[in-house]
């Protein structure tokens, strides 16, 4: 989907971050342009999820070095909620349950906050109901879920679908999908991936963090990056994922060390 007039959405330079005094990211570099899909792969503990959370602004992590430029702004200067309002979206690996808060009122608050920021029109509950029912179709979600408490009692697959529903509602410029494929059966994976594909436009971009290449059968990446020990060690195209699937990760480190 890369078009000739694509522009840089995200520029990560030498990003280092730690939690509790332990350095997890040790100099990440990444450039993402509009219309692109990037996959970040790597073994457990390589820093993939940390990278996602640091981009979204999780307050538990301290950025010790480097910079992140997002649409010309220094992203690291903004608190998490402002990053979200600027169009950065994180689909959680483990979405949080919020008892007593209905999914529809949560989504409406999020949507209206975003609209207020963009100078768009806010929707009242009735208008929002029409709006959200259309969005539900995108992830084949039963509108009955709208009346239930956010993620409470949802199955793993339902939670992940709910994340993509939120993505559909907020229409982010940069979506970071943190292991959205984990815990999904084949049907759910097809639905979730289908939703993401429908939401792709030449103006936005997606970073997918995943262990497995099977997600990439459904969402085709333009770039595949291998992360290890807090750095991106190797970058390639779609075929790199297949090679990783066949050979594992160790050869990448050996190659990088050589």
């Amino acid at each position: 989907m890369i078009s000739s007039n694509s522009r840089v959405i995200l520029e990560v330079r030498d990003l280092c971050a730690s939690i509790g005094g332990i350095e997890i990211l040790k100099g990440v570099n990444l450039t993402v342009r509009s219309g692109e899909v990037h996959a970040i792969m790597g073994p457990n503990g390589s820093g993939k999820s940390t990278f996602s959370k640091v981009l979204a602004g999780h307050p538990g992590y301290t950025v010790t070095r480097g910079e992140v430029i997002y649409n010309g702004k220094n992203l690291l200067d903004l608190p998490a909620e402002e990053r979200a309002r600027e169009g950065v979206f994180l689909a959680f690996q483990y979405p949080i349950e919020i008892p007593g808060v209905s999914n529809s009122s949560f989504l409406r608050l999020a949507y209206n906050t975003m609209q207020a920021h963009r100078g768009g029109e806010e929707l009242d509950p009735l208008e929002f109901d029409d709006f959200i029912r259309e969005k539900c179709k995108l992830v084949e979600m039963d509108p009955g879920f709208l009346d239930r408490s956010v993620n409470e009692g949802f199955s793993g697959g339902e939670k992940k679908r709910n994340e993509i529903l939120q993505m559909a509602v907020l229409e982010p410029k940069l979506s970071i999908l943190d292991e959205t494929d984990s815990g999904l059966d084949i049907d759910a994976l097809r639905i979730v991936a289908g939703g993401v594909n429908k939401l792709m436009t030449p103006d936005n971009a997606v970073i997918m963090v995943t262990h497995y290449q099977r997600l990439l059968n459904y969402i085709t990446p333009d770039f595949v990056h291998v992360m290890r020990s807090g750095r991106i060690l190797k970058t390639g195209g779609r075929e790199l994922a297949l090679e990783l699937e066949a050979r594992g990760y160790d050869w990448v480190r050996a190659e990088a060390a050589a």
Partner: protein, 478 residues
């Protein structure tokens, strides 16, 4: 470290101002002479003075309860003034003659004392320190036969009703603070709903403590005759002082056959500052008697203020098929302590009770639910359902649940459920990553948590309560 969550709980108390008004204050200390003086000031009949003196003599033999999960320095009962009233210029004939300073006070508190400016359909009794200042809509209510006035007025105009019911639900010997109240109570509200009458409006009492060294000892009595219905609400605030004030109220409700009383409280006494200095000691005895068959009493409380809260609004389910309900949100922050819950005493057959308690603790506060469900030997087919949920905000607060269950009848069915959850960084981050700021996030989480209780508040007050919780929690999450 001041995280957004922390920054959110610490908004200042809005009602902490003091009204500069000349007051008639009885010198500090408690004795039979002081009680005689209060009784005389209120022009009370002999039997009421006797009620007070006998309670006082009982009180002298009683000890303060030590079982609650709260701690405070010993209260010096001789260092409290037991009567404080704004000095009237002359006898008041109408609201126009009430001291404008007082009216301004209540305006500032958002309490509607002018009937034309009122919330539609709410009658208010306004109590300032020890006395009732005014009661609105009295005439309109009188047309339906509903009596709604200050307790002092009821003693003067309806002594037979007061005498018949006073102390029948909460005997003066019930506990230390009930005995103290029975000896020195000064004012409160009185409601009487006649047979087959649905009270045409919400009744409400607004309590305001203004004097630093006085206590407030109000007495409320609500009687619902056969097949009547009333919804009653009380609200409370107090100025910000560095000292602690004692508030020891007694509330008695009586519901006869097929009658229903719905009693709601939004308690926002001054809670002390962020270091736990000052605040009200709220030691209150509230009880309803479902005397008649098929009667129903429902308590809904939103407790957000007071340095220490010690109260257990309960129901004695005497009439067959009678129903008791208790819906509570208790929020504590900083160094507040709350030990609150309910007592459901099942005596009659097929009596039912339902308890929904939501405790929210933040800061260094300690929040305990304490509840008793007692099924008597003759309470065939009695049923109880209790649900106690606690929410912790931050790592330094505490939540406890102390359920007591006594069952003497094998046909009874008693259920108890409890849960504990925490608002933490991850929950806040989830909201933030959807563009929602911490203030709105906390408010949404808390309101979700309390929804089941708020649903039982009268509409206008549900909105108030929602706002109040938001204010109290500003800056506390972190």
């Amino acid at each position: 470290m001041s995280t957004p969550l922390e920054a959110l709980i610490n908004r200042p108390y809005e009602y902490g101002f003091v009204t500069d008004i000349e007051s008639d204050v009885v010198p500090k200390g408690l004795s039979e002479d002081v009680i005689r003086l209060i009784s005389k000031k209120k022009n009370e009949p002999e039997w009421l003075l006797e009620f007070r003196l006998s309670a006082y003599r009982q009180w002298l033999t009683m000890a303060e309860p030590a079982w609650a999960n709260v701690s405070h320095p010993k209260i010096d009962f001789q260092n409290i003034s037991y009567y404080s009233a704004p000095k009237p210029k002359k006898k008041l004939a109408s609201l126009d003659e009430v001291d404008p300073e007082l009216l301004r006070t209540f305006e500032k508190l958002g309490v509607p004392v002018h009937e034309q400016k009122m919330l539609a359909n709410v009658a208010v009794d306004v109590i300032f320190d020890s006395v009732s200042v005014t009661t609105t809509f009295k005439e309109k209510l009188a047309k339906e036969g509903v009596i709604f006035c200050s307790f002092s007025e009821a003693v003067q105009h309806h002594p037979e009703l007061v005498k018949k019911y006073l102390g029948t639900v909460v005997p003066s010997t019930d506990n230390f603070y009930a005995a103290l109240n029975s000896a020195v109570f000064t004012d409160g509200s009185f409601c009487y709903i006649p047979k087959n009458t649905v009270c045409p409006m919400e009744l409400s009492t607004y309590f305001r403590i203004n004097t630093e060294e006085s206590g407030q000892f109000e007495r409320t009595l609500i009687i619902a005759e056969e097949s009547s219905y009333v919804s009653y609400l009380e609200g409370c605030t107090a100025p910000r002082f560095d000292t602690n004030q004692l508030h020891a109220a007694v509330v008695e409700l009586v519901a006869l056959d097929n009658a229903e009383i719905k009693y709601s409280t939004v308690q926002n006494w001054y809670a002390g500052d962020e270091n736990g200095v000052g605040g009200i000691y709220n030691f209150v005895t509230k009880r309803g008697l479902c005397k008649g068959a098929n009667s129903k009493i429902s308590w809904t409380q939103v407790e957000t203020g007071s340095a220490i809260t010690w109260k257990y609004p309960g129901c004695v389910l005497l009439g067959d098929n009678s129903i008791g309900e208790f819906y509570s949100v208790a929020l504590t922050n900083h160094h507040q302590q709350a030990d609150t819950g309910t007592k459901m005493i099942h005596v009659g057959r097929n009596t039912r009770s339902r308890i929904v308690s939501k405790g929210i603790s933040a800061g260094y506060s300690n929040n305990s639910y304490r509840g008793l469900v007692k099924i008597g030997a003759k309470a065939e087919g009695a049923r109880n359902y209790s649900q106690c949920d606690s929410m912790l905000i931050g790592a330094a607060c505490g939540a406890n649940t102390f359920p007591y269950i006594e069952v003497l009848n094998s046909t009874a069915k008693v259920e108890h459920e409890a849960s504990t959850s925490r608002i933490g960084e991850d929950q806040m981050f989830y909201f933030a990553s959807r563009g929602i700021g911490s203030e709105e996030a906390v408010s949404m989480i808390i309101n979700g948590f309390c929804k089941e209780v708020f649903n039982h508040l009268p509409m206008e007050f549900a909105v108030e309560a929602t706002k109040l919780l938001g204010l109290k929690l500003e800056g506390s999450v972190g």
